[in-house]
């Protein structure tokens, strides 16, 4: 367990692994399409839950934003905030709801500064969760959906950068 905790503080290593996995899935896309997204999802669901569960305490929202949130799962935030911390953070950076826990966004921001590929993604505006995708494989959802469930006018890029 301590191993996974230490791993969480290696955001660069994690983002490289994440991007690598994403690239493999993109390569396999034609194959997955032929297999059927539904079937691929059933195959992927459990390994994804175990893998991301161990490292990120993944809640299987089905819409992974890890690389945009400092490789820290925003679903660990009791308010499920996807765009940054609430105003209730306690002194010392602890969570408003659970005072024994560090604010997910304090950790996410800190880690995002150490990332080299997707660190600025924390400034993107994340769309509301699609609840229908919960408990399904996020990698497969990404391939099948291609971000088609928000109005075209939903702005995500802000152009903001880390110093």
């Amino acid at each position: 367990m301590r191993f996974f905790k230490r791993l969480r503080d290696k955001p660069y290593l994690l983002e490289v692994t994440y991007k690598f996995t994403e690239a493999i899935f993109a390569r396999l896309h034609p194959l997955i399409k032929r297999l059927g997204y539904g079937r691929a999802d059933k195959l992927m669901r459990i390994p994804e839950k175990i893998g991301k569960g161990a490292v990120f305490d993944c809640q299987m929202c089905g819409q992974c934003t890890l690389h945009f949130t400092g490789m820290t799962c925003p679903m660990g935030c009791p308010k499920n905030l996807r765009n940054g911390p609430c105003g209730g953070v306690r002194q010392g950076g602890f969570c408003e709801v659970d005072a024994t826990m560090k604010c997910v966004w304090v950790e996410a921001y800190e880690r995002s500064t150490k990332m080299k590929i997707c660190g600025d993604g924390i400034f993107n505006i994340q769309p509301p969760l699609n609840q229908r995708l919960a408990n399904k494989s996020a990698f497969i959802n990404l391939l099948s959906l291609q971000g088609a469930d928000m109005p075209e006018t939903w702005k995500t890029e802000t152009g903001l950068r880390h110093d």
């Binding site: 009791p78 308010k79 499920n80 905030l81 996807r82 765009n83 940054g84 911390p85 609430c86 105003g87 209730g88 953070v89 306690r90 002194q91 010392g92 950076g93 408003e96 709801v97 604010c103 966004w105 304090v106 921001y109 800190e110 924390i122 400034f123 505006i125 994340q126 769309p127 509301p128 969760l129 928000m150 109005p151 006018t153 939903w154 702005k155 802000t158 152009g159 903001l160």
Partner: protein
């Protein structure tokens, strides 16, 4: 920041460059409209706009949209506060349309205090949207005339959109950037949490100015009186997101009982005097739950002192 989106007095006052004062009203636990009017009567005379809270502190009160309507019909300029805690996106978009139809143009979009701090800790927390997403949703409804589903709105609402800012809690470096994110989403004004640490605010505002955010939005700083060191202690331990420096609590503790109320007011006036000097501050937001009299005296005092030329 030149276009006047609404016919509201609040937006007009901000755009005129005047130093704006807003004040917070907690809607009563009553179905009698007279009680809503009574809650606003003291501060209403002095404020450019009244913020009507939405289940503040996760406690149940008369709904914000209803209280806003009652006050607006009585001639007050109101800011409708909407929290993400209690409704999903269907209810929120419906209520935004309703607010538009009722002539409530100023909307402050908030995350909301968690249910655990309020009077119904057993309740389900919703947070279907977060505050940034709510701002962007309201902007899309206004500018594109559609719901998030893409369905058309026959007559889109006119909104002047606001967000919250808390420069006084971590992650400090992210806070100004989060403001920038909210501006990109559509926020045009901000109201902050209580300021009891001017140094921290100065550092925050410097970053805000470096990013040019003070030119893209109006920032109002939250202030309010402390009745005693006990109130201060309660607020900083029980009210989410409130930070009060030890020196302030100590100052109140050393003051004899009969002088505490006056000292609390003096601290507030001193903070306001420093806040108005900070470049990029468009006004103050007075929060004085159950201390409306003290708040009125504070506003009268800063007006008499002419703390700002624009006041």
């Amino acid at each position: 920041m030149t276009e006047n989106r609404t016919s509201g007095r609040f937006e007009a006052a901000l755009r005129s460059g005047k130093f704006v004062i807003t004040a917070e009203v907690t809607p009563p636990d009553s179905a009698n409209p007279q009680d809503v009017l009574a809650a606003a009567s003291k501060l209403g005379k002095f404020a450019d706009a009244l913020n009507v809270t939405d289940g503040s502190g996760a406690n149940c009160h008369i709904s914000s949209v209803a209280a806003c309507t009652i006050l607006s019909q009585a001639g007050y300029e109101v800011i409708f506060q909407m929290s993400c805690r209690d409704r999903n996106r269907i209810a929120m978009q419906g209520e935004l349309l309703g607010a538009g139809a009722l002539g409530l143009h100023n909307v402050l979009c908030l995350t909301g205090d968690d249910v655990t701090v309020g009077d119904h800790p057993q309740a389900k927390r919703v947070f279907d949207l977060d505050s940034t997403q709510l701002i962007q949703t309201a902007r899309i409804m206004r500018d594109d005339g559609i719901f998030l589903s893409g369905r058309k709105i026959s007559s889109p609402p006119k909104f002047f959109l606001g967000g919250a800012d808390n420069p006084f809690v971590e992650p400090f470096d992210f806070r100004p950037l989060r403001l920038a994110k909210k501006i990109e989403a559509g926020a045009e004004f901000f109201q902050t949490q209580y300021c009891f640490d001017v140094e921290r605010l100065r550092a925050h505002m410097k970053k805000v100015r470096d990013l040019g955010l003070h030119e893209k939005s109006f920032i109002l700083i939250g202030v309010g009186p402390l009745r005693s060191e006990k109130t201060a202690e309660y607020m900083r331990t029980k009210v989410p997101g409130v930070y009060i420096r030890d020196e302030i609590v100590e100052r109140l503790r050393k003051t004899p009982t009969e002088g505490k109320r006056v000292e609390g007011k003096r601290i507030c006036v001193e903070i306001i005097q420093q806040v108005v000097e900070i470049e990029g501050v468009a006004g103050i937001h007075v929060m004085a739950h159950k201390q409306e009299d003290a708040a009125v005296e504070i506003i009268e005092e800063i007006q008499a002192l002419k703390v700002s030329k624009k006041l």
